[in-house]
């Protein structure tokens, strides 16, 4: 009966996620250190951006609401916005907003059209907003895409100026590549090739993503090379017995898995499976939506802190060549069952659920506390004990991350805990609770503090996530 209820929950979850993905208007921001997206809000037919969510990954951000005033501290600057007013004081200078400032349930919203003028007063780096694609490039960060068609083969070689990890989906006559986190740009429009199998490639930017679609007369295969700087598109070889060539840096996954990103509009369910899938680390920013988590201070909710840390951790992992994805990109409500279902569907290398607390200092790393009565590895794993057969690898992961903290003299402790969704995850899974620096809660949003700890976590994950040989698929390496 219980498993039946879970099944319903998962189906509802997937339907809900697909629905929100379609409705949500995503706005992507790319910086030299990280990239992330926020969900746009519609007010009186105008598009607004949640300012706190935009700034939090960029630096130390704190805000508090005082009646209809919203006071913001970002790095060393102070700003003040007033609900319903077009004028705002940003870093000691008055600026005019294109539409009135809005406070909605404690969330500060600025008109999308004024975002760049607000950010220009706060961020020293160059800003380039690409409208109507809903993409913002900070600090001149850009990944250029150059395409090169070779009629011998035939094949289409895509060269990128920096590593990429797009989600790829195929459907009859089309291969679609979606870049959500990479600041990929290319000449927009369609390039036609004089070929029967690879007919044309078209690049477009919209809704906070870049998309490359390749039209073909035969099934295509994408192969990664040069540490994910090139992708070669070629027809699937006619001999079907061979497995597709594995990626250069990570192991192939035995079965295609849907992308776990709640906020990603790409790779809708029910499409033909992706031709190329790479095992990732799934990062769960704890809480979200109605569940604010702990009230860390008067203005700081745990759900915002966990999202900022999750983005920071993803960047730290990607810097080490470990692909990572977040279960939520914005302020989304996700049940424990949804989190576990999305994670298990992605068959990740590891699962990290992030939380922030105020008890003590440093970092606490937790594994699932499973009763001895829970079944061990066996033929069938009940939902509540899906973690049982992964517990040893989860403990190894916790130990590896803890060792990295000790190396850096960061206070650390480990413990088994009853914490969902750890027990429902069928992969190495740990929860990480970050505590403030020297008791100063604001330090939880400090970029340097986040970066130093996330780098240690990423090293700890890298220490244990060396690919395990996959039966039957490892020979190609």
């Amino acid at each position: 009966m219980k498993s039946c209820r879970h099944a319903v929950a998962i189906v509802v979850a997937i339907v809900a996620l697909v629905a929100t993905a379609a409705d949500d208007q995503r706005f992507s921001i790319y910086t030299p250190h990280t990239s992330y997206s926020v969900t746009l809000v519609d007010r009186d037919g105008r598009q607004y951006v949640p300012l706190f969510e935009v700034l939090a990954p960029l630096g130390s951000t704190a805000a508090h609401q005082d009646g209809d005033k919203w006071k913001l501290k970002f790095n060393n600057t102070e700003s003040e916005f007033k609900s319903g007013k077009n004028k705002a004081k940003v870093n000691r200078k008055n600026i005019d907003l294109s539409a009135p400032f809005v406070i909605d349930n404690g969330r500060a919203l600025v008109p999308l059209r004024s975002l760049v003028s607000v950010l220009a007063r706060l961020v020293p780096d160059s800003l380039e907003q690409r409208e109507p694609a809903h993409r913002l490039f900070i600090g001149g960060v850009i990944t250029e895409l150059k395409t090169e068609f070779q009629s011998a083969g035939p094949k289409l070689v895509l060269r990128f100026s920096a590593p990429v990890n797009p989600s790829i989906s195929t459907e009859p006559g089309r291969l679609r590549m979606v870049f959500t986190r990479e600041p990929v740009i290319a000449a927009a429009g369609t390039q036609a090739f004089d070929d029967k199998t690879i007919r044309a490639a078209s690049f477009s930017e919209h809704d906070g993503i870049a998309e490359l679609t390749i039209n073909s007369g035969a099934p295509l295969l994408a192969t990664f090379g040069e540490q994910n700087r090139t992708i070669t598109i070629a027809p699937v070889p006619q001999v079907r017995a061979q497995a597709p060539p594995p990626a250069a840096t990570t192991p192939p996954v035995p079965a295609p898995a849907p992308t776990p990103e709640a906020a990603s509009p790409s790779a809708p369910q029910g499409r033909a499976p992706a031709t190329h899938v790479r095992a990732t680390v799934v990062i769960d920013p704890g809480h979200g939506g109605d569940d604010r988590g702990a009230a860390l201070s008067g203005s700081l909710a745990e759900k915002d802190v966990t999202l900022a840390w999750a983005r920071r951790l993803r960047a730290a992992l990607e810097q080490k060549g470990i692909p990572a994805s977040l279960l939520r990109e914005g302020d989304t409500s996700l049940s424990f069952d949804q989190r576990a279902a999305l994670t298990n569907a992605a068959r990740p290398l590891a699962f990290i659920t992030l939380h922030a607390g105020t008890t003590g200092a440093g970092v606490r790393i937790y594994t699932a506390h499973l009763g001895e009565t829970a079944p061990r590895a066996g033929s069938f794993l009940p939902w509540d004990a899906a973690q049982a057969s992964f517990l040893d690898s989860s403990r190894a992961l916790a130990g590896s991350v803890a060792a990295e903290m000790t190396k850096r003299s960061i206070p650390v402790g480990t413990a088994p805990v009853l914490l969902r969704p750890l027990n429902n995850v069928a992969a190495s899974a740990v929860a990480i609770e970050v505590m403030p620096l020297a008791g100063n809660v604001a330090s939880l949003m400090d970029a340097t503090y986040q970066q130093s700890i996330c780098a240690a976590i990423a090293d700890g994950i890298a220490g244990v996530s060396k690919p395990a040989p996959q039966p039957g698929a490892g020979a190609a390496r």
Binding site: H287, D291, G293, A294, A295, E302, H355, G357, T358, T359, G360, R364, Y366, T367, H369, L370, G371, E372, T373, D384, L391, R395, G413, T414, A415, P416, V417, L418, L419, R420, N423, A431, E433
Partner: protein
């Protein structure tokens, strides 16, 4: 004629004095009532939960949560021993909670937090029913919540041999989490191979 006028004047003065007296008494009564209303909760907040010890007593082991090192610490205590094992288990947990509610608490709980009942269910289960204040005022965080749950479960297991699985209810109902983290929908298994750290 004049005497009657004087009489009514004296009467008026008397009446006025009487009205003043009634008002003053009424105000005093109201103040007393308000004070009385405030008193019981105030007493409940500060009073140590462990009852005054009379009759047979017993030395027990408590697993006391400590926020500063994030561990459980073994500590002895003397509690009264009622005949009923369920009531004895409740007194045991109230002794633990009295430490948390005390002045130099190593793991503060919200005022008014209490254990309403403990049911020892054979062969190896204990159900702990806490009051709303226990959960509603609990601080939120993985460590703080887990310290509370582990300390209750380990304390029960240490003093009631055979008690392995402990479940915490709030006002008789199952809760998803204690304060956003510790999973209360599941049993806490005190015999699991991997246990919450105990200071040596």
């Amino acid at each position: 004629m004049t005497q009657r006028v004087e009489m009514t004047l004296r009467l008026k003065i008397l009446l006025l004095l009487l009205v003043i007296a009634v008002a003053a008494l009424g105000y005093y009564a109201l103040r007393l009532k308000r004070q009385a209303e405030r008193l019981p909760t105030g007493v409940m907040d500060t009073r140590p939960i462990a009852p005054p010890i009379s009759g047979p007593t017993e030395r027990v082991t408590l697993y006391v949560a400590n926020d500063s090192d994030g561990m459980l610490h073994r500590q002895d205590a003397i509690i009264a021993v009622p005949g009923d094992p369920n009531e004895r288990a409740r007194q045991l947990l109230r002794a633990l909670l009295s430490i948390y509610l005390g002045k130099r608490s190593p793991h503060p709980l919200g005022s008014g937090a209490d254990v309403k009942y403990v049911f020892l269910v054979k062969p190896n289960m204990a159900i702990v029913d806490t009051n709303a204040a226990f959960a509603d005022t609990h601080r939120s965080g993985i460590l703080v919540e887990q310290l509370t749950v582990a300390s209750i479960a380990r304390t029960l297991a240490a003093n009631f041999p055979g008690t392995i699985r402990v479940k915490i209810l709030v006002e008789g109902k199952e809760r998803e989490t204690l304060a956003g983290h510790a999973d209360l929908s599941d049993f806490y298994d005190t015999a699991a191979g991997d246990q919450f750290p105990v200071a040596q």
